[in-house]
C-alpha cells in the first residue's frame, strides 16, 4: 500500500478525505480452541474530522476489540476478517510495517483504562514523554523541553517535578494526564480513548473529562471515545454508536440517541439506569435474557431473543441499518421496527412496596469512636478516625466516599474481619460485639452478614453453587437434611436463581448470577443487617438494575437493614434512607438521604454530586476539585478536606479540624462554614446540583 491518499472506498459508508476514521463492514474474529469466533460483525461508522464519536456498550460487546483493530494491535489470534478501516483516508489494514509505524507515530494515538500500567515502570516519566518527540526526529534536549511544554498544557502544575519521577510515584489522575499528554504530543488527527476514566475516582474523573473536552477544542483532534458509561458518553460525544453483541445496533447524534432512542436495546439500556427523577426505589427496569454466544445467531436480529417487540420477522431476517429521517442529523438503527422501539414493554420484577419501615426507635447496630490505624511499610496509615454510626432495623444507610476514604475498612471492622483500634465500641441490639468475628456468638454471626464487591473472590471457585449455599444454611441457619433442601429451594427462588444452576461452579455463571449466589448466602441465616460492599460495581448497568431490584425486594420481605457502600451516588440516591459521606477516614456528613442530596451540604459532598455526569442534566454548572486525594498515611492538618476545598474560608480550615455541626434534625456536617453561608453559596454559585436541573 502506498502512502499516497487512496481514493474513497466503495462500501456502505462513503469515506471522504475529511473523515478522521472510517469503518466499513468490519468483521473481527478470534481463533479460540481451534475454531474461529466472530466477535464483531459488520460494523460501519465514521468519525468526521474534529468530531467526537462515542462507542457505548456493555462488557463483551466488542468495543475495545474495535479500538485495537483500528490501530492494528489485535492479539495474535485475532484478525479483521472482512471490511475496511481507514484513518485519514488511508487503508490501515494494508499498510506495511514502516507505514504502520509512521501512522501510529503521527496520525493516531490511544489512551486506555489503567494509566498505571500504560507507562513503563522503570523509565522516568519525562523520558517517556520526550520519546514521542525523539521519534519525530527532535534531539534529546529539545524533546525534553517540548515534553515539559505538553505536560504544562495538560495542566500539570509542576511539569519538571513530574518528569523526574517514576510512574509509581504519581497518582492515577496525574498518570492519566501524562498518558494523555503523550498521546497528544504528536498532535494526532485521531485520538482513541478506551475507558480513560473508568479506573479513576469520581472527582478525579470529572477533572480529567473536563481536561479532555478542553484539549479537544484546543487541538481540534477527532475523538473515538469508548465507554460503558452512557452519561460519560453523552457528556463527551457529538455522535454515538451503541454496540450489542458485536453489532452496531444504533448510531446517531448523542442527544438524539439518548433522548429519542430507536433501537429496543438502547431503550432497555437507558431505562435500567437509576434516575434522579425516578422516585425512591421505584423498581428499575431490566433487560431479560442473556447475551448470545458469538456466532450463535445465524439469522435474524442479534437482540431478538431478549426483545419484547420481537416478531417472526426479527428471528428470520437480519435487519439492515434503517436510516432515520427525523431532522436530528444522520442516524440509523439496525431494527425492523425502529419507529416502535420506545413502545418496548416495561420489564421489571418487583412490585414496589412504597410503605417504608421508619421505626428508628432503637438503633440495631451502633458504632462509637471507631478508629483504625494500619502499619504500612513503617508508616502509620489512618484508615478510620473516630467514626460514629448507627443503623436502625430495616433501614438502608448509604456509605459514600472515594478511594482511601475508609469505607471498606469500616465494613470490615463492623463485620469483625479487622479489629478496630482500642477504644472503639460496637454494639448489636445493645449487646457489645466482639472485635473479631471468630470471637462472636453464633447469633451475632448470623445477624450480621456481607455481600462482597467481587463475587469471583467471594465465592469459592472449587465449590458448586449448591454446596456454597448449603454450607451457609447449615452453619448460619442450622438447617439439616430435608429441611435444608427445602430451604435451599426457597432461598434460590427468592434470589431468582434457577435450579439448573445449582450443580454448577461459579466460573460457569455470569457476574449477575454469581452475585445472586453471594446474596443468597448472606441471607441464609435470616440476617438483621447485611453490609453490601459495592455489590454492583463490577456489573453491567442492565445487570446492576436487576441486582438492585433484588436487594430492595429482599429488604421488603425480610425487614433487613443495609449498609450500602458505593462510589456511585446514583445508586446510593436510589437506595438509601440515610447517607454517610467519608473522606480520608472521617465522616464529613451524615443525614437523611434527601436532606444530604438537596443541601446545603458539605463542600465535599457538593463536589461529589457535581462530579458525576448524569443523563438528566448535562448542562449543570459544576464545582471542580483541584489536586489529588491526599495520602491517608499523611492526612492534612486541620480539616482533612482543606487542600482541595473550593469553599475554603481561611486559616481556620488549615489548622483546626471542624466538629460535626447539626444542619437539620439528624443531618450533621463537619465544616467551619456556617450552615446559612453554605446554603447561600451553594444555591448561588454552583446551584444545589440535585435541586436545579440546568439553568
Amino acid at each position: 500500500m502506498s502512502t499516497t491518499a487512496s481514493p474513497p472506498a466503495p462500501g456502505e459508508t462513503q469515506a471522504t478525505a475529511a473523515d478522521a476514521l472510517t469503518l466499513s463492514g468490519v468483521d473481527i474474529s478470534y481463533r479460540v480452541r481451534r475454531a474461529d469466533q466472530r466477535i464483531v460483525r459488520d460494523v460501519s461508522f465514521r468519525v468526521a474530522r474534529g468530531e467526537s464519536f462515542g462507542l457505548v456498550g456493555e462488557s463483551g460487546c466488542g468495543k475495545s476489540t474495535i479500538a485495537l483493530a483500528v490501530v492494528r494491535y489485535l492479539a495474535r489470534n485475532g484478525r479483521v476478517s472482512a471490511g475496511r478501516i481507514e484513518i485519514d483516508g488511508r487503508d490501515v489494514l494494508s499498510l506495511d510495517r514502516a507505514d504502520l509505524r509512521r501512522l501510529r507515530a503521527r496520525t493516531v494515538s490511544m489512551v486506555y483504562q489503567e494509566p498505571g500500567r500504560a507507562l513503563n515502570p522503570s523509565i522516568l516519566v519525562g523520558r517517556q514523554v520526550a520519546e514521542v518527540y525523539e521519534i519525530a526526529g527532535a534531539p534529546r534536549s529539545e524533546a525534553l523541553d517540548r515534553a515539559r511544554e505538553i505536560l504544562a498544557r495538560v495542566r500539570i502544575s509542576d511539569p519538571d517535578g513530574v518528569m523526574r519521577r517514576y510512574p509509581h510515584q504519581l497518582s492515577g489522575g496525574m498518570l492519566q494526564r501524562v498518558v494523555i499528554a503523550m498521546a497528544l504530543a504528536a498532535e494526532p488527527s485521531l485520538l482513541i480513548l478506551d475507558e480513560p476514566t473508568t479506573a479513576l475516582d469520581a472527582t478525579v474523573e470529572a477533572d480529567v473529562l473536563d481536561l479532555i473536552l478542553g484539549l479537544r477544542a484546543e487541538f481540534g483532534t477527532s475523538l473515538l471515545f469508548i465507554s460503558h458509561n452512557l452519561a460519560v458518553i453523552a457528556k463527551m460525544c457529538d455522535r454515538v454508536g451503541v454496540l450489542y453483541a458485536g453489532e452496531l445496533v444504533e448510531e446517531g447524534p448523542a442527544s438524539a440517541v439518548f433522548g429519542d432512542p430507536r433501537h429496543p436495546y438502547t431503550v432497555g439500556l437507558l431505562r435500567s439506569i437509576p434516575r434522579r427523577d425516578g422516585g425512591a426505589r421505584a423498581p428499575l427496569q431490566t433487560i431479560p435474557g442473556s447475551l448470545p454466544t458469538p456466532g450463535s445467531v445465524a439469522a435474524g436480529c442479534v437482540f431478538a431473543a431478549r426483545c419484547g417487540l420481537a416478531q417472526e420477522r426479527c428471528r428470520a431476517e437480519t435487519p439492515a441499518v434503517h436510516r432515520i429521517e427525523d431532522g436530528c442529523g444522520e442516524r440509523g438503527s439496525r431494527c425492523h421496527f425502529s419507529e416502535q422501539a420506545q413502545s418496548l414493554p416495561i420489564h421489571s420484577i418487583v412490585a414496589p412496596d412504597s410503605a417504608r419501615i421508619a421505626d428508628r426507635a432503637e438503633p440495631l447496630i451502633r458504632a462509637r469512636s471507631v478508629s483504625k490505624t494500619f502499619q504500612a511499610s513503617g508508616q502509620r496509615v489512618r484508615g478510620l478516625h473516630q467514626v460514629d454510626l448507627e443503623i436502625a432495623a430495616g433501614e438502608t444507610v448509604g456509605l459514600v466516599g472515594e478511594s482511601g476514604s475508609g469505607k471498606t475498612t469500616l465494613a470490615r471492622v463492623l463485620m469483625g474481619l479487622t479489629a478496630p483500634d482500642p477504644g472503639a465500641e460496637v454494639t448489636l441490639d445493645g449487646r457489645p460485639l466482639a472485635p473479631l468475628a471468630g470471637a462472636r456468638t453464633a447469633a451475632d454471626q448470623k445477624a450480621l452478614q456481607i455481600v462482597f464487591q467481587n463475587p469471583d473472590s467471594a465465592l469459592n471457585r472449587r465449590h458448586s453453587v449448591r454446596r456454597l449455599i448449603s454450607r451457609s444454611l447449615a452453619k448460619l441457619g442450622g438447617y439439616r437434611g430435608e429441611a435444608l433442601q427445602a430451604r435451599l429451594q426457597a432461598l434460590a427462588e427468592s434470589v431468582r436463581l434457577p435450579e439448573r444452576y445449582l450443580p454448577m461452579r461459579p466460573s460457569q455463571l455470569s457476574g449477575g448470577l454469581k452475585q445472586r449466589v453471594a446474596i443468597a448466602r448472606a441471607f441464609a441465616g435470616d440476617p438483621q443487617i447485611v453490609v453490601c460492599d459495592e455489590p454492583t460495581s463490577a456489573l453491567d448497568v442492565s445487570v446492576q438494575a436487576a441486582i438492585l431490584n433484588l436487594l430492595t425486594d429482599l429488604q421488603h420481605r425480610e425487614r433487613v437493614a443495609y449498609l450500602f457502600i458505593s462510589h456511585d451516588l446514583g445508586v446510593v440516591r436510589y437506595l438509601a434512607d440515610r447517607i454517610v459521606v467519608l473522606y480520608l477516614g472521617r465522616v464529613m456528613e451524615i443525614g437523611p438521604a434527601q436532606s444530604v442530596l438537596d443541601g446545603p451540604h458539605h463542600p465535599y459532598t457538593e463536589a461529589l454530586l457535581s462530579a458525576v455526569p448524569t443523563l438528566d442534566d448535562s448542562d449543570r454548572e459544576r464545582i471542580r476539585l483541584e489536586g489529588e486525594i491526599p495520602s491517608a498515611a499523611d492526612p492534612p492538618a486541620g480539616c482533612p478536606f482543606h487542600t482541595r476545598c473550593p469553599r475554603r474560608i481561611g486559616e481556620i480550615c488549615d489548622t483546626t479540624e471542624p466538629e460535626m455541626r447539626v444542619q437539620a434534625p439528624g443531618h450533621e456536617i463537619r465544616c467551619h462554614i456556617p450552615v446559612d453561608d453554605l446554603r447561600r453559596l451553594q444555591s448561588a454559585g454552583g446551584g444545589a446540583p440535585s435541586a436545579s436541573a440546568g439553568r
Binding site: G60, I349, L476
Partner: protein
C-alpha cells in the same frame, strides 16, 4: 425472571453439561503433543518395570566368558564387565527408580502441602519460624543435603526415599505457601470466617482445593527432579546396593570401562535416564499449560 448474560467463554463449557470443566481440562491435555510423548515414554518404562523380566534375559546372570562384548544379535546392548546382558539391566533397572522417585515425591508433596498451608494461612510467627527452616534447607543444593541425610541414616533405598521426601518438603512448602497467601486474601475465606468456620476447615476444605493446581504441577516437576537426584546419588554410591540393576549405580560401576572403548556399558543406561526425566518433564509442562488454560 431475569437471567443475565453468561460470559462468552463459559457457554461452550455449559453446553457440554455438568462435570465439564474436568473434561475440558482432559481435552486440553490430550491435544498437546508434549503430553502424548511424555505419557508414552512413562508408559513404556512402567510396562518395562512390570513385565520387563518376561521379555529380556536374566539381568543378574554373569557370563565371564562373554564380558565387555559389543552390541550384537545375541546381546542387543552388549554385555558389561561381568558379562551380564546390558539390555536386561537397563530394562529391569527401571524398577527401583519407578518405586523410589514417586514415593519420595509423594512424601515431599504431602508434607510440603501441610507445612505450606500452615505457613500461608497462619502467617505471623508460624510463618517466620518455618520460613527460616525452609530457607536453611534451600541454602543447600539437593545433592549435598541428600549426602548428609544418607551419611546420617545409612545408604539404602528407604533412606533415599525419606531423604528426598524431606528435602522436597521445603521446596513444595514454599510454592504452596505462595499460592495460599494469594487465596487467603480472597473474600471467600473472609466469608467462611464470618459463618464461624474453624481454621482447619478453612485450610483444608476451602483453600486446599484452590491450590491443587500448583501442587499438581509441583508434584510432576519434582518427580522429574526425584529421578535426577536418585540417579545422581546412586551414581555416587548412596542407593540400592548391587547386584540389583540400577541405572545410576550401573553407570558408575562401568564408567571406568569407557576409556577402554566399552561405551555401551554406560551409554544405554544414560539414555534410559534421559528419556525418563524428559518424559516426566513433558508431562509436567503439559499439565501446567492445560491447568493454565482452564
Amino acid at each position: 425472571m431475569s437471567i443475565e448474560a453468561l460470559p462468552v467463554e463459559s457457554r461452550a463449557a455449559l453446553s457440554a453439561g455438568a462435570g465439564d470443566l474436568r473434561r475440558q481440562f482432559l481435552r486440553d491435555l490430550v491435544h498437546q503433543k508434549a503430553f502424548m510423548i511424555g505419557a508414552t515414554v512413562l508408559g513404556f518404562w512402567v510396562l518395562a518395570a512390570i513385565f520387563g523380566t518376561l521379555v529380556v534375559q536374566d539381568p543378574l546372570a554373569q557370563n565371564l566368558s562373554a564380558i565387555n562384548q559389543a552390541p550384537s544379535a545375541s546381546h542387543l546392548f552388549g554385555t558389561d564387565q561381568l558379562g551380564r546382558d546390558v539390555l536386561a539391566r537397563v530394562i529391569v533397572g527401571s524398577r527401583s527408580i519407578l518405586v523410589t522417585a514417586p514415593l519420595a515425591t509423594l512424601i515431599g508433596t504431602v508434607l510440603g502441602t501441610v507445612v505450606g498451608l500452615s505457613m500461608g494461612y497462619f502467617r505471623g510467627i508460624v510463618d517466620d519460624i518455618l520460613g527460616r527452616f525452609v530457607e536453611a534447607f534451600l541454602a543447600l543444593p539437593l545433592v549435598v543435603t541428600g549426602i548428609i541425610g544418607i551419611v546420617a541414616l545409612g545408604a539404602s533405598d528407604t533412606t533415599l526415599i525419606i531423604v528426598i521426601g524431606i528435602v522436597f518438603t521445603p521446596l513444595i512448602a514454599r510454592t504452596v505457601r505462595a499460592a495460599v497467601l494469594v487465596e487467603r486474601d480472597l473474600d471467600y475465606v473472609a466469608a467462611a470466617r464470618l459463618r464461624g468456620e474453624r481454621s482447619l476447615y478453612i485450610m483444608f476444605v476451602e483453600i486446599l482445593p484452590n491450590v491443587l493446581a500448583p501442587i499438581t504441577v509441583e508434584f510432576t516437576v519434582r518427580l522429574g527432579y526425584a529421578v535426577f537426584t536418585i540417579v545422581t546419588l546412586s551414581f555416587l554410591g548412596f542407593g540400592l546396593q548391587p547386584p540389583t540393576p540400577n541405572w545410576g549405580y550401573d553407570i558408575s560401576a562401568n564408567v571406568g570401562a569407557v576409556t577402554a572403548g566399552y561405551w555401551w556399558e554406560v551409554l544405554f543406561a544414560a539414555v534410559a535416564v534421559a528419556t525418563l526425566v524428559i518424559g516426566v518433564n513433558m508431562l509436567a509442562s503439559s499439565i501446567e499449560s492445560a491447568l493454565d488454560a482452564s
